[in-house]
């Protein structure tokens, strides 16, 4: 009984860690790429290696990759405590909603009703697709 409760608690803590680190990673990567600007014209003008170097030297990019690594290890931790059928969809769908909130407040994106609806529909759809 207690063992089951601990397993459940650890599973949900892992889901929380995945959602937070994955959203932080996405926000940081997005911030890095907005700082660099549209890479299409930049690549044509200065070449692929210049763009790659620009991305790899951006501190927000490096922090974002670090957050993604934390998210990956949190997923492995979560999978060791709970079923993939719970951890996978719960983390994926909550990340869509968390990203919308984080993008609104940290990236100052204009998240209108259309984008809220999209995030919620996709989050609900991901949960249903797991069954």
């Amino acid at each position: 009984m207690i063992r089951h409760a601990i397993s459940n608690l650890n599973g949900w803590l892992a889901i929380l860690a995945i959602v937070l680190s994955s959203s932080a990673g996405d926000v940081l990567l997005s911030r890095a790429m907005k700082q660099i600007g549209d890479v299409g014209p930049l690549r044509r003008k200065r070449g692929l290696s210049f763009v790659a170097l620009l991305v790899l030297r951006n501190k927000f990019f490096l922090l974002g990759v670090g957050c993604m690594a934390i998210s990956f290890y949190s997923l492995l931790f979560g999978l060791s405590w709970n079923d993939v059928s719970l951890v996978g969809p719960a983390a994926a769908s909550l990340t869509f909603v968390a990203n919308a909130i984080a993008a609104k407040f940290f990236l100052r994106e204009r998240v209108d009703s259309r984008r809220w609806a999209a995030a919620l529909f996709v989050a609900a759809g991901v949960v249903l697709m797991a069954f």
């Binding site: 759809g125 249903l128 697709m129």
Partner: protein, 141 residues
């Protein structure tokens, strides 16, 4: 949105599920790896399916970063979630797996979400900064 931008989003959508599927197929061929023999994990890259899966996932990361350079995060994420639908369609029509009614409902919801977000603008336009703001910033520096 230009054709190049639509192609980039299509790349994000296709590379991730195909890469994951290739990795899954390759790892099933490799078999279980014990934590005591972690070095074996490095050798899994020699499996052609795992190698190809990694190439696809690198393609996903490159197209994802490119998409984030011209579109908002709240646009790219739902728009590229069509990959979930693609995975379900591969399971149903290529692998002949059974897709339940709830899963079809999930596909419908994801597709509706993608429809919502792609009908709007891809980037939050900010008004250009006024000259006086620039001067104030320069003075602060």
């Amino acid at each position: 949105m230009t054709v190049r931008k639509y192609l980039t989003l299509a790349g994000v959508t296709v590379f991730a599920p195909v890469g994951d599927s290739l990795l899954s197929y390759g790892m099933k061929q490799v078999g279980n790896i014990s934590l005591r023999h972690v070095s074996e994990l490095l050798l899994t890259i020699t499996n052609p399916w795992v190698g190809l899966g990694i190439v696809f996932l690198l393609g996903f990361f490159a197209t994802y970063m490119t998409a984030l350079s011209f579109a908002d995060l709240t646009y790219v994420l739902p728009a590229s979630s069509l990959g979930y639908v693609l995975l379900a369609l591969i399971a149903r029509f290529a692998l002949h797996e059974n897709v339940s009614v709830t899963r079809w409902l999930g596909i419908a919801l994801v597709s509706a979400g993608v429809g919502f977000v792609t009908s709007g603008p891809e980037l939050t336009r900010r008004p250009p900064r006024r000259r006086s703001d620039d001067l104030a910033t320069e003075r602060q520096l």
